[in-house]
């Protein structure tokens, strides 16, 4: 972080712990993350690094701050204190364009949150088309400015234009193609033109996952993806998440499915009281837990 006056980061709250240098090996780095709702401390000074390719499962009792932690990772909740770095960008800095960063972070919710006013295909293509159009407009604006400034530049100093190889139709076609490819993959290609309200929970959740995938994210955040599903639909959703994990997607999963966490995760966080009480490979967490709270928790859920 440059500390010069011109580029000094701007934050929501002024009293903060100082920024530590970002570890370039980590994909997501969390520094001294705290979150308060009024006087209720939900997250208590968490520092953690998540490397590319890791599959993190977060387990813990209700109210332990699991979901809040996950939502802080893409700043859906503003942290009260501390920083979240994603690929070296401080997401808590108000000068960082959060929308650009979120394109690379997919998120899947417990309640699916498919857009009810759009059919499945539109649900999936909305964000990619917007992203494409936004980039296209940006390039065009930049070119217009360059062209104008070139009028005043001497022949050898003229700057080159940004090449634009795409147009609106192409962006839409590409997004649609990609969406259909993803839908075919999960076996729901025939549902492309129906509205979410006609689908089952399992189908909706798989489409929600695919919608996040359509943005080619670097990391996927799952917020209890199977908690709102009928027991018989849990399998199909977990299967899809497992496939993604096998493909090498970095993911952070808040879950109550211990068997799944054990199978898929490379690292398990046990959270309680707003802190990560214990962490380690699943064999260690489930096999030989050290923390008394974790022992107690596991004896209840396993």
């Amino acid at each position: 972080m440059k500390e010069s006056k011109k580029h000094s980061p701007k934050f929501l709250k002024t009293e903060k712990t100082p920024v530590e240098p970002f570890d370039p090996e980590a994909l997501i780095e969390v520094q001294h993350l705290s979150k308060k709702y009024g006087s209720l401390l939900v997250l208590d000074d968490i520092s953690e690094k998540i490397k590319s390719g890791e599959k993190i499962a977060i387990i813990g009792p209700s109210g332990s701050g699991k979901s809040t932690f996950l939502r802080c990772l893409n700043v859906l909740e503003d942290p009260t204190d501390g920083y979240v770095f994603f690929e070296g960008n401080n997401l808590c800095d108000l000068k960082v364009d959060i929308n650009l960063q979120r394109r690379r972070m997919g998120m899947v919710f417990q309640q699916f949150n498919l857009f009810n006013n759009m059919n499945v295909l539109k649900n999936i293509t909305l964000a990619p088309v917007h992203m494409g159009m936004q980039d296209l407009r940006k390039a065009k604006r930049k070119n217009a400015l360059t062209r104008f400034l070139n009028l005043f530049r001497s022949e050898e100093k003229k700057k080159e234009l940004v090449p634009i190889e795409t147009n609106k139709k192409q962006i839409q076609e590409q997004a649609k193609e990609n969406a259909m490819r993803l839908l075919t993959r999960i076996g729901l290609a025939d549902k492309a033109n129906v509205y979410p309200s006609t689908l089952s929970g399992g189908q909706r959740q798989r489409i929600a996952i695919v919608r996040a995938l359509a943005m080619n994210p670097k990391v996927m955040l799952f917020d209890e993806p199977t908690s709102a599903l009928d027991p018989e639909m849990v399998g199909e959703v977990l299967q899809l998440i497992k496939e993604l994990a096998d493909e090498g997607m970095t993911m952070v999963i808040v879950t109550h499915e211990m068997g799944f966490a054990r199978e898929v995760a490379t690292r398990v966080f046990f959270m309680d009281g707003g802190k990560i009480q214990e962490q380690g490979p699943p064999a260690q967490i489930f096999g030989s837990p050290q923390n008394p709270r974790l022992k107690d928790f596991l004896s209840k859920v396993l």
Partner: protein, 230 residues
């Protein structure tokens, strides 16, 4: 009574005054419908600002202006607003009085619709906004393509109410020389020296209009609900 009816119809048809009434009807509908459309645009904008997070200071200031606007236009009678616009703001601009009425009614209904829309936006699950934002869509895009279309669906019955109220409120547009339904019938009443029959007819016309609007809104509402269950 028979004589009065005869005079009324004679004046209306034999002397060709039904044209004035038709113009009045058209103007009334134009003011009400265009007013509501302007109101929905302004109202959605102001409502979106009101529910926006307060991260950005500029947005915050604009949302205060939105609050002031709502308070001002809801807090004063529409006649007063019409007269202020006619005699102070548009004074000497030579603007068409119909356009003037549309603007004033649009601004007035915008204030009401902003609160209606705010309720509608709040009734849409917050998860929809969150889903949009996590996909990297900006607040504006999420509002425009995801939340507001759903909010409008939720507020259609209330918007129908607003359209009905607006239709009847247009009866004061005559104050600034706009030929609306009320002004047309008042002219007839003045010319025939009879107030009973024209005003009874006026009431009948408004009643029929309102019934038609009610039916129309039912149809629109049913259509919109159906599209979700395809």
């Amino acid at each position: 009574m028979k004589a009065k009816l005869d005079t009324f119809f004679k004046y209306l048809f034999d002397y060709g005054n039904y044209e004035t009434v038709l113009i009045g009807l058209r103007n009334t509908l134009v003011i009400a419908v265009c007013g509501l459309l302007i109101g929905i645009v302004i109202g959605s904008f102001v409502a979106a600002l009101k529910v926006a997070g307060t991260r950005n200071r500029v947005v915050k200031v604009i949302s205060y202006i939105g609050d002031a606007y709502t308070g001002l236009f809801r807090g004063t009678p529409i006649i007063v607003q019409l007269i202020i616009f006619h005699f102070i703001i548009f004074r000497g601009s030579g603007i068409n009085t119909l356009l003037e009425a549309v603007i004033v009614f649009g601004l007035n209904s915008g204030a009401y619709v902003s609160e209606i829309m705010r309720g509608g936006i709040l009734s849409v699950d917050i998860g929809q906004t969150e889903a949009g934002r996590t996909l990297g869509l900006s607040f504006t895009v999420t509002m425009l393509f995801v939340v507001i279309p759903q909010a409008i669906k939720n507020v259609i019955p209330t918007l129908g109410n607003e359209l009905i109220a607006l239709t009847k409120d247009t009866s004061v547009a005559g104050y600034v020389a706009t030929m609306d339904l009320n002004a047309a019938f008042t002219a007839i009443a003045g010319a025939t020296y009879d107030y009973l029959v024209p005003y009874l007819f006026l009431a009948l016309v408004y009643l029929v209009l309102v019934v038609l609007i009610t039916v129309l809104i039912r149809v629109v509402e049913r259509r919109m609900r159906k599209s979700e269950r395809k």
